[in-house]
Subunit: 343 residues, 2 copies
């Protein structure tokens, strides 16, 4: 199970058993970059399999999750999503009420963010381990019309390596922003699952972020964005640190996590920064742009709790958190997944 958890074990598995077979390609952002989307022939292209359990949870369902996840993977590359595909694999015997609720959730999310589902596939398999349904969503997008002016603003401060919002684009001094409170999605699912013995009223944050990200790009000065899904903020920042060859220093108390999520995580012995989110963006921008980007995020309901959480640094090559007491601890990439089957 840990090979699919989004952490280090998975990176290793993908390198050894997937990438090793495939050849490098001439695309602008190729497969081997292991970024959120590829860019090929001017088209931004992404895919994501969703195996969430349960299929319907507080704040969303596997349908809305699959739309949000794919729209966000396109948006965080600097693309405007054009269309989605949806492949649904269902277990024999799944009740039609669940099918209808999930498809309604998918349709509603697609309508809300203005990105149509244009093609799809349905397969039915014998009942067994998929817990009813798996949805694989792919998406295509075009370069956002705000990207050129956005990067132009960043270039007023420093050189910018990539023409897209890729993981290798962070430089020392960049400001790091999260668009809201972390950990809600994972804790909402855990507290809803049987046998975990605790109850919260935390709802999943599942949301397509294309419009909020478009506003942030209009503000300008952004060099990269990532949605902290599997592996959470810890995985996201460690990928940036490693692919951009920079250190990251976080101001612990500034990282927005709700008290309920904090308490639940303490109870379970897991780190809220390692849990997947489904409606959050982590943004790196040149420091001069940070206030404008924060204001742009906060003008959207999904971004009202946006916060500046730290800076990239040349002093070391790891992700470090300054704690409330003034201490420092290294934020490691999660090895496995503290909360399986949440996306």
């Amino acid at each position: 199970m840990n090979h699919g958890a989004g952490g280090e074990l998975m990176q290793e598995f993908v390198s050894r058993h997937v990438l090793s077979h495939l050849e490098g390609t001439a695309s602008e952002v190729p497969l081997e970059a292991l970024d959120d989307s590829a860019v090929v022939d001017g088209i931004v292209f992404t895919t994501d399999g969703h195996t969430v359990k349960p299929l319907i949870f507080p704040g969303g369902d596997i349908g809305s999750l699959s739309v949000a996840g794919t729209v966000n993977d396109l948006s965080v590359m600097g693309a405007e999503p054009v269309a989605l595909s949806s492949a649904v694999i269902m277990e024999e015997g799944l009740d039609m009420e669940t099918v209808d609720r999930v498809m309604a959730g998918l349709a509603e999310a697609s309508r809300a963010c203005g990105v149509p589902v244009v093609t799809g596939d349905t397969k039915v398999i014998e009942s067994g381990g998929i817990d009813g349904m798996v949805i694989v969503t792919s998406g295509i997008g075009r370069r956002s019309p705000h990207m050129d002016s956005n990067l132009e603003r960043a270039r007023r401060s420093r050189e910018v390596k990539s023409a897209w919002l890729t993981d290798d684009n962070v430089a020392p001094g960049d400001a790091l922003i999260v668009s809201g409170r972390l950990g809600d999605h994972g804790v909402a699912l855990l507290s809803f699952r049987e046998g975990y013995g605790f109850d919260t009223d935390v709802k999943s944050d599942v949301a397509p972020l294309n419009r909020m990200i478009a506003s942030a790009l209009q503000a300008g000065g952004i060099v990269t964005i990532k949605d902290p899904t599997r592996g959470g903020l810890a995985n996201c920042l460690n990928e940036w640190s490693s692919k951009s060859a920079v250190g990251i220093e976080l101001d612990g108390p500034a990282i927005p996590v709700s008290e309920t999520v904090n308490n639940a995580c303490e109870l379970l012995g897991i780190d809220p920064l390692s849990i997947g989110n489904e409606g959050k963006a982590v943004i790196a921008c040149v420091p001069e742009a940070a206030e404008d980007v924060l204001a742009a995020l906060r003008s959207h309901p999904e971004g009202e709790d946006a916060a500046l959480i730290g800076y990239a640094t040349a002093e070391y090559d790891r992700v470090v958190i300054r704690t409330e007491m003034g201490g420092r601890r290294v934020l490691e990439p999660p090895v496995g997944d503290p909360v399986p089957r949440i996306c």
Copy 2:
């Protein structure tokens, strides 16, 4: 299980529980056309989930199958495939040797047809019903450079409704061609599965057809193409008949089916024309172009057994086969799937 079999029950399920939730879109070939691919903003876009059992079979594996299926879905719309995505969902405990063989099969197929895999996703789930692995492949393509001259040749004979090779583009008088022998894929899988009690040396026909189809389009005069996967030729021609509102008259003895496949199907009591294929194209073209299209197909190894099998007609609205004895029978769309889990 029958809701996923590609036949009439599935069409009904998709209409009632999937399409009913989604809105019509402005794409050139929209979701509600239920065609092989969508066309949106100049991009041809398709997705397909593969749940084949066993994962490795005579002539291919789920990896090569997923590449061929997606490349073919793009090609049969009149597109040149640009890139593929691959989402792999694996069961916990699946052995790495199988993973490696499947990924090597996928990579080899991608190399052979010249269409790169540019983005992907991997998920691991608890062991259960997926029999090891499901692969969902999506693909993007651009309009083939041969499409305009191809349709131009068709327009010399008659009006052509759609600018793409869609299911509603057939007209009375059109010649119908298959690119080779039918039923090999389904019979190869059945004979390889345990418990079926018969042995053949039939190999799956799994093959990407983009180059063969490009040659056929260069010959010109083609109004539509379809790959007869789930539900086989019977499903393909009934979709054309219903969406184009034409009848189809087939010359039974002209339909290429190998003796081994015929014998195996007789033994099992199934119709070889209702079994899925993974490396065949069914083509409708204006009758004047038939000889040139046949020659173009036969110039490729995948098309060496190409044959003219009948014509579209205005005389009735069903698919009818003239048998060897001079009788006629209606070829109904399959209700369920005579051979489950083959694609």
